[in-house]
Symmetry: C2
Subunit: 524 residues, 2 copies
């Protein structure tokens, strides 16, 4: 199956553009032979082998090279698909929405430009991974923590720009962003916030600068390529204590989430804590084959056995306490007393899990910002390793939690998959992320996954739930659910797109936003 | 002095447009006779009587009326200047940048659409003041606090959109904003975030929605008229204890700010606390005439007398503790021990200030979100009542604090004014706000104020300090200092402006952003 050229681009034009790009970055940094282009979706979600295929990749080493690439793309109308490190595996990896796009691989731009211990921030390029930043801080002995999502190999910048989350008090990554440098679609280089003031001393200290606060429009968008970003880091707290509370029955999720809301809104729970379902946690340390030979969804009878084996619950809440011991003690008393109401709730600190320590050690490290890849153990649950995240946002209420749980669990099981979900508590919402683990090499599993995903998007939207983030294949579907007042928000985004990227070369289709010439093809 | 018509608009066109607007809002809600137009700058900063003059005002009662007004303005190329309540007195009040503009007075749209106690948020229209929201919460007995800036008569929405600050842990108002409804310059009605998903249940709970996070571009901008805004409210804490620490010498500011930084970055200081200068605090309870008959700046010798009289310092730090008593006790120990290093520091809770209780009672109320107008007492300091805020942003370092202090104090005193300043600590920056109090009826004081202001903008920028907010007269000056890379950020803002408001009718000149047809006049 050959990769199609982008719409309106001839092979000659593409070749000339790539030749020009080679002059910019050096020929070893343009990747063209199709089987060597490493920018495919690691877990394709459907059976269309021509979908989401990059024509080539180009890896710039500097902002100037990014500007030159954008300039060339404008001249030849080449669609570019920028990725920071391309590790967003549950959502498409480095692959583009539009086949034929040239991936702009920013992973060579991996300088940590500054880490400031006094103020708690870093200024990074797109290629800096969580591992890189963590190791840098450890080597220098700085008393700072980073906040990591589950896998630590991704880009600090890319994750924040995709509204990713982690599990310390700094878990809302985009909220901790401060100051950017961006190459716009038209090739202009902009610095936001205080960065626009030459010689400033507050680019990473104060977000808003003067005039419109624009940083947000470069998140989950295709208006520019961010080349530098500031991110706030948490000072090492005076104390730290992770804990786990397990709940026995699936219906407990209703009461648990009702208890969580006031604790979180009142900041008694200080961090982006999570409630995880039995099988998501079970899959961190064991594979399904330990418990059954069947590929069918785990029946309830087996759930009890897994719970007993792993000393976990149908739901497992992991949080952490941060601060001086008297502060931690006070908060813990409130948390413990609140959850003690739930029948069968069991409370654990690390020292209470001698027989099955792994899960709380793992979460305990994540909630203090230690990057790892442990979470990917769940890919071995079924074999086949594919996974996609379905991520609706919900109010923090018991009613919504249990409704979403049954809606999604029933659908994924109907289509032959286990429910493996987590509810991450944000400032005032739940991110309900269900990981669908499927065999990426099995066309039937892919077909079923794709089918149930599209059904769930529609069913969730009908109940008022929208996804906060998605796989490249579903961006149009999900953008289509945010259609209030005849798609007014999308129309506005399109206007901004056309203004900042008049030739529509940046990431066509990202978040459902298509440039003018591709909208006229009926894409929007 | 007659108000000029807006550029390119004839008297006939203006009259016809206003006639059309009368049909929309009712004739009693269009204000035209010039002496009755209440939208002047209450404290003019220069002697140009034709500057910042509104031609008329129109007061819509609904979003539909706002859309209709925008539609008419587009037809007749009438510049509109939207204000929420127009109480931004230190920065121009309700007056427009461009003379001849029609003020869109949103104060009739003053519905509190929802206050949610469980989740801690309000959904408000632009005309809702802090007093309105506070009173609503008190009447319903809800266990929520609001966060207020110094004067409580302003708009909750307008202040957040202008990046205003308050003094509780929710002091960064724009950070607490969640979800908007906006009428764009082109007349389209947009809802942001989850508001774009019909039937959603998380518009005020989750900021980012799906795709670009756009809310920020409607702050300090002229891209749209915000008609609804969500704002997060703080749950009533388990305990509250305001405190004051006074410092004797002006040079103490260096050590004080060095001590503040780690306490704030580490969240030991939980709120938007402030260090205020002697005279700003002194002016809350007394006027200058009590201490001297001269209008000259207060000499150092007199400072000692005022300090003793009012039992305050050259610098006065007011903060507050929030939470259960053991948490407050732990934080207070760390704060007290840190500041005990400063020679002559004196520590006060409310019960320690029996002789001069006023100032800490006042701050104590503000830091728990009680709206008031007490702060305006400082307008009586000199007589004449004019005031303007000069508001550079600084890193939280002693070196920067003392440098800014001397730079600004020396300049304002050179021009005949007292230094009345505060340093408000944000997440990682200081807002150094100097209030210049002058006699608004004295042309010479206005001239001197205007002259020193423009000098200070330039001198601050040369040292890397930029203003976060400003009076309508200085928007071009300050935008001009954010000129990195040949004004790249401004050019981008202009592109967005032209895309969302193609006829350039919304607030021309706001934050230095001029629409295309006025830029071609050499405005940019």
């Amino acid at each position: 199956m050959s990769t199609p050229l982008p719409p309106g681009v001839s092979a000659e034009q593409m070749n000339e553009a790539l030749a020009r790009m080679r002059k910019v970055v050096g020929k070893e940094w343009v990747f063209v032979e199709q089987d060597k282009v490493p920018y495919h979706d690691p877990y394709p979600v459907n059976n269309d082998a021509s979908a989401n295929k990059a024509w080539a990749g180009v890896a710039p080493a500097s902002t100037e090279q990014v500007q030159a690439i954008v300039q060339i793309a404008n001249e030849f109308s080449i669609p570019l698909w920028p990725v920071s490190r391309g590790k967003n595996f549950a959502y498409g990896g480095a692959a583009p929405v539009l086949s034929g796009s040239v991936v702009v691989d920013m992973s060579r731009m991996n300088r940590i430009l500054e880490v400031n211990e006094d103020f708690g921030y870093a200024l990074v390029e797109p290629g800096v991974s969580y591992f890189d930043l963590y190791n840098y801080i450890q080597e220098k002995g700085l008393k700072l923590w980073i906040d990591v999502p589950d896998p630590g190999w991704g880009s600090v910048m890319g994750n924040a720009l995709d509204h990713g989350i982690g599990y310390t008090p700094y878990g809302d990554h985009f909220a901790m962003q401060c100051g950017m440098e961006v190459v716009l679609g038209n090739g202009e280089l902009v610095r936001t916030g205080m960065g626009a003031l030459p010689g400033n001393n507050t680019w990473q200290l104060f977000k808003y600068g003067f005039g419109p606060y624009v940083d947000g429009i470069f998140s989950q968008s295709n208006f520019g390529i961010v080349t530098k970003m500031g991110i706030w880091l948490m000072p090492e707290p005076a104390g730290y204590r992770p804990y786990m509370i397990t709940f026995e029955r699936e219906e407990d999720i209703e009461e648990v989430v009702e208890i969580l809301r006031p604790l979180r809104v009142g900041q008694v729970i200080q961090n982006g804590a999570t409630v995880r379902s039995l099988l998501l946690d079970a899959a961190i340390t064991e594979s399904k084959s330990k418990y059954t030979k069947s590929r069918e969804p785990i029946p309830d009878s087996l759930s009890r056995k897994i719970m007993a084996d792993q000393e976990i619950g149908m739901w497992n809440f992991c949080g952490a306490l941060y601060g001086p011991p008297p502060v931690m003690d006070t908060l813990w008393t409130a948390i413990r007393d609140s959850f003690a109401k739930v029948k069968g709730a069991k409370f654990y600190f690390e020292e209470d899990r001698k027989r099955r320590p792994d899960i709380l050690i793992h979460r305990g490290e994540t909630m203090k910002g230690i990057p790892k890849l442990t979470e990917f153990n769940f890919l071995n649950w079924n074999g086949g390793g594919g996974h996609v995240g379905f991520s609706p946002v919900s109010p923090i209420t018991g009613k919504d939690a249990i409704k979403q749980y049954y809606m999604i669990k029933d659908r994924v099981r109907e289509y032959g998959f286990d429910y493996m979900g987590l509810m991450a508590i944000g400032w005032r919402d739940l991110h309900h992320v269900t990981v669908i683990v499927y065999d990426k090499n099995d066309p039937d599993e892919r077909r079923r996954m794709n089918e149930v995903f599209r059904i769930m998007v529609k069913e969730a939207a009908a109940e008022g739930y929208g996804e906060y983030r998605t796989h490249i294949q579903y961006m149009d579907d999900i953008a289509g659910t945010y259609n209030w007042n005849d798609n007014a928000l999308m129309k506005m985004n399109q206007s901004i797109k056309d203004a900042l990227d008049p030739n529509g070369i940046l990431a066509p289709g990202k978040s459902g936003i298509w440039p003018k010439h591709l909208r006229e093809d009926g894409k929007s």
